[in-house]
């Protein structure tokens, strides 16, 4: 399944978003998205097969985490369209505003 198709399902986007702050076991993901465990496992399988997440065993749990490569490619796919919403300086400024915060130095 393409990255776009994998991301087309809202619950799968929720699952990804839940992993932004780190790897999560399935039972935590089940709670977070409020769907049955088999449904969550099925979505996770699709995310896995699309390369969007990786799994790691930890005892009887499986820890799912984000695999950034397909998202990177999505970022690149967007490239030719960026000309439509900004000239060079605006794009740079927007990018700087979007960067994660950090202490002054």
């Amino acid at each position: 399944m393409s990255t776009f198709a994998a991301l087309a399902e809202p619950n799968r986007r929720l699952l990804l978003e839940a992993m932004i702050d780190g790897a999560k076991p399935v039972n935590q993901l089940v709670e977070l998205i409020g769907q049955s465990q088999p449904v969550v496992s099925k979505h996770l399988r699709i995310l896995r097969e699309s390369g969007l997440v990786s799994v790691e065993r930890n005892g009887q749990q499986r820890l799912y985490s984000i695999n950034p490569q397909p998202l990177r490619e999505l970022d690149q796919w967007l490239q030719p369209y960026r000309q439509f919403w900004a000239d060079r300086l605006d794009a740079l400024e927007a990018h700087l505003n979007n960067l994660p915060e950090e202490e002054d130095r």
Copy 2:
């Protein structure tokens, strides 16, 4: 339909890509993606309803062009994931490298 769902269909992505260099009438788009006219019109309707394209009449033709707003939002959706493939400086550098070319000044 969500932006993601609209973009999940390969022919719709082809249609969008065909509009990168400017507005195009339906018959040109039909040729470019090699699908029947009704199928193309259907895909264009979905792109329209998702806000990804705009139409303008020109005599008996309809000119379709890219409407960037949803793609912009997709770009913003990606933001929290960018930390996974770069630290701040790398991200900035990558962004600068990605900007459209322009003459020196």
